[in-house]
Amino acid sequence: MKRCTLIAVQGEYRVWIDIGGVRKEFLIDTGFTNPECMVGLNVGSSTYRQLLAKGAITEQYSGETTQADGSLGIATIGKVETQLFYVGKPFGKKVITYVADGGEYAEDLVGVCFFHQLEGGRIIWDFTRQTMSIEVS
């Protein structure tokens, strides 16, 4: 097992992910999920457009979203290859997931369904130390 440990900064845990050749820092959001677990990432529209221009998105859908305030809407989602990074190096296997275009001012989020793709792995959340350790085989 390989392990990487994230330390909470102002109550937030962040990881680096290469998404279609674009490496970005994502906020871990356990509230970001979907029943069939297709969509693992959420990015701002400028990043989504960048991925499209690079040809990194291979299949798209209109997807229904619900925000924290209960409002319903439609977002574009697209299939993309991703890779978790830790201290500048690939960590774990590549993950094929869908990314949502969250709108112009959307935060880069990584949700439950991204981590579910890391079969054989787990996350250990230490509340006392305020760390999150990701283990992958």
Binding site: F32, N34, E59, E64, G78
Partner: protein, 82 residues
């Protein structure tokens, strides 16, 4: 009628249209993106972006619409962003 109610009614119509005509959609438009709004087929295009443009131009007031690869069907479930 409230916006949410309109949205849900449109969604129901769009999904009902898909369920009714899905065999035809899959058979006829395989390899293309399909756009459905207001309970009818709006476009069959080569790319998602073309289908989205068609929806924006032909049904700009639509709160709910479906765009998907014909052979795969629409995305199911709701993406929670909290």
């Amino acid at each position: 009628m409230e916006k949410r109610e309109i949205y849900l009614k449109q969604k129901e119509k769009n999904l009902a249209f898909y369920e009714r005509d899905k065999n035809e959609i899959i058979g006829k438009y395989k390899g293309q993106y399909v756009a459905i709004a207001h309970g009818k087929l709006l476009a069959c295009t080569g790319t998602y972006q073309e289908a989205l443009e068609k929806v924006k131009n032909s049904a700009p007031e639509a709160l709910h619409f479906l765009i998907f690869p014909a052979e795969k069907g629409p995305f199911r479930g709701i993406i929670k962003v909290i």
